[in-house]
């Protein structure tokens, strides 16, 4: 296989607890720490391992968003990606439009494998990979926990609700990474220096000539209903009594 394309989404860091703005106009993300979506980081790690094992020659990272996402692409380059592409657009694109952007890049680059995270931890949609596979008319292997290559085929083990499902797919294909696919490497300082020499191409969205939408509109944001703090018991006897009280034992 020649090229692997990996999508990196810039999202609010896993450890940040975001809040809905008081006026309900959205979620307050001003000044909070931003990171690569954790599942995308796993996807990139997998791509790097595939290349290191001799099964691919180039790993390209791509992000769709504002120039702020250059930070996440640079991290991707420091992790070991060969080059980066930013498709520049100021507003957040819907998953279908995002899939169309990836498809346009695939057509330009002749990509053999696309690795994405199984979901972004901001919008929690879990859609883009499946949508890309649909419009590309290629196989999808979502929620992957193991990938084994055999020529122009791959055997992918998927984390499904009742256990582990293995499917065989022909390449090219889209694979989305689940938690246990691997543990991403840490970036070392010399790698950050080396990454500065790598190519980072910026493409305005308009240059790709993509049809956008139809988007689903967000019309209101609310804070979730809070659960109330209950009672504390002192020991097992108290716990059993409280459970009996609620008719649960």
């Amino acid at each position: 296989m020649d090229k692997i394309l990996v999508g990196l989404k810039r999202v609010v860091d896993y450890n940040v607890r975001v809040r809905v703005r008081h006026d309900g106009s959205g979620v307050d993300t001003d000044g909070v720490k931003m990171s690569i979506n954790p599942f995308d980081e796993i996807a990139l790690e997998e791509a790097l391992r595939i290349k290191e094992s001799g099964n691919a020659t180039e790993v390209i990272v791509i992000s769709v968003g504002s120039s702020a996402a250059l930070q996440q692409l640079r991290t991707g380059l420091a992790m070991g990606a060969d080059r980066a592409i930013l498709v520049e657009v100021d507003e957040e694109l819907d998953p279908l439009s995002c899939a169309r952007v990836f498809k346009a890049i695939i057509d330009r680059e002749k990509v053999d494998l696309v690795l994405l995270g199984k979901q972004a931890i901001d919008n929690d949609n879990s859609q883009t990979g499946q949508m890309l596979a649909a419009i590309w008319d290629r196989p999808q292997a979502t929620f992957a926990s193991e990938i084994v290559f055999d020529g122009d085929k791959a055997r992918v083990t998927r984390e499904v609700d009742i256990g582990l499902e293995t499917i065989e797919i022909d390449l090219p294909a889209v694979i989305t990474a689940d938690l246990r696919l691997n543990e991403p490497r840490y970036v070392k300082l010399p790698d950050i220096m080396k990454a500065k020499k790598k190519t980072l191409e910026e493409i305005p969205l308009a240059d790709l000539g993509i049809e956008l939408g139809p988007a689903i509109k967000a019309t209101a944001f609310e804070a979730p209903a809070e659960r109330q703090r209950g009672i504390m018991v002192d020991d097992v006897a108290g716990l059993i009594a409280a459970l009996k009280d609620k008719g649960l034992l």
């Binding site: 896993y14 975001v18 809040r19 979620v27 599942f39 998953p95 279908l96 979901q119 901001d122 929690d124 949609n125 859609q127 883009t128 990979g129 499946q130 949508m131 890309l132 596979a133 649909a134 419009i135 290629r138 196989p139 999808q140 292997a141 979502t142 929620f143 926990s145 998927r158 984390e159 499904v160 609700d161 009742i162 256990g163 582990l164 499902e165 293995t166 499917i167 065989e168 938690l179 246990r180 139809p214 689903i216 967000a218 019309t219 209101a220 944001f221 609310e222 804070a223 979730p224 209903a225 659960r227 703090r229 209950g230 009672i231 504390m232 018991v233 020991d235 097992v236 716990l239 649960l248």
Partner: protein, 313 residues
């Protein structure tokens, strides 16, 4: 009037309870006609179960050998073809629905709504984002088909006093053969299924090893409970991923949820926010899990859990 196509989830012979929950959600759309589609190699027994579910107007069977296993690449073109004339296509937000419905939506040229937790109107729904830190109201464009997955923890199964007619539907759409099923290794145990169990016992990183989960299995057995885990416990390799409860695992709504040695990160709490009663057992009295627990007990889980297990009948 809305015409809603529901894609049934099943294992080849038995319908999954997620289907009746998806139907319960669809039934909240005023004046909607609900049609259930069963894609299978042999659909009779599944269709018979589907026809009993309340609110269902008709059951369609699409039988062909390629439908023996639920492969999204194979099913999506068939669903997209069948969707002609429907205003909505719904499936459960299980790994089955999450794999399939976005692919269907893209073939239909629309975006998809993930994880509906509330219906406001035929084209307006609520869902949660940022691991449950915000609830968002979303509106699909009026002139497009609404493709969506339904958060099964937000709905109770629709009743089963119906006997809707069953019809065979056209099954001649061309499907790709570039995706092939190899095997399914089910982590099946005798314990109740995590997603439908009325009681769930869940363990976190504080369990400290895979072996120590045994004390939870013993407690679960006494309670007739399913067993779950936090992402931290899955990450540490104590239990398989299918036991993960939370934002990136399963979203559940048991009557009783016992969080044992779980600190209560927001990513975990979003998976249990619809639980009836939450019990927290943790040695750290300041753990955030106590903020949401209905019953809290501070102490050493390795002492409390065996004591509780012994005390139960």
């Amino acid at each position: 009037m809305s015409k809603i196509l529901i894609i049934a989830e099943h294992d080849g012979s038995v319908i999954n309870p997620s289907t009746a929950k998806t139907i319960a959600c669809a039934a909240e759309i005023n004046g909607g006609e609900i049609v259930v589609a069963v894609f299978a190699s042999s659909a009779a027994s599944i269709a018979a179960e589907a026809s009993k579910i309340d609110s269902v107007a008709r059951v369609l069977t699409i039988e062909r050998p390629e439908n023996e296993h639920a492969l999204a690449a194979v099913l999506a073109p068939q669903v997209a073809a069948l969707a002609a004339g429907y205003s909505h296509v719904f499936g459960p937000s299980t790994t089955f629905g999450k794999d399939l419905l976005p692919r269907v939506a893209a073939l239909l040229g629309v975006n998809q709504i993930s994880d509906i937790m509330n219906v406001t109107s035929s084209h307006t729904f609520q869902r949660s984002i940022y691991a449950g830190n915000a609830v968002i109201t979303v509106e699909a464009p009026a002139d497009y088909v609404v493709v969506a997955t339904v958060r099964t923890a937000s709905y109770r199964e629709a009743g089963s006093g119906n006997s809707a007619p069953i019809e065979a539907a056209d099954a001649t759409v061309e499907v790709p053969d570039y995706t092939r099923f190899v095997e399914l290794k089910s982590g099946k145990t005798d314990r109740p299924d995590l997603q439908t169990a009325a009681k769930v016992v869940s363990g976190g990183r504080a369990l400290a090893s895979a072996e120590n989960f045994d004390i939870l299995y013993k407690l679960a057995e006494k309670l007739g409970a399913g067993v779950g885990a936090s992402r931290a416990a899955v990450d540490a390799g104590y239990v398989p991923n299918e036991m993960q409860v939370g934002q990136t695992g399963k979203i559940i709504a048991p009557d009783l949820y016992m969080a044992i040695g779980i600190s209560g990160a927001i990513q975990h709490l979003t998976g249990i926010k619809d639980a009836g009663t939450i019990v927290a057992i943790n040695k750290d009295g300041e753990a955030p899990i106590f903020e949401v627990a209905d019953i809290g007990l501070v102490g050493d889980l390795f002492k409390i859990v065996p004591e509780l297990t012994d005390a139960l009948p």
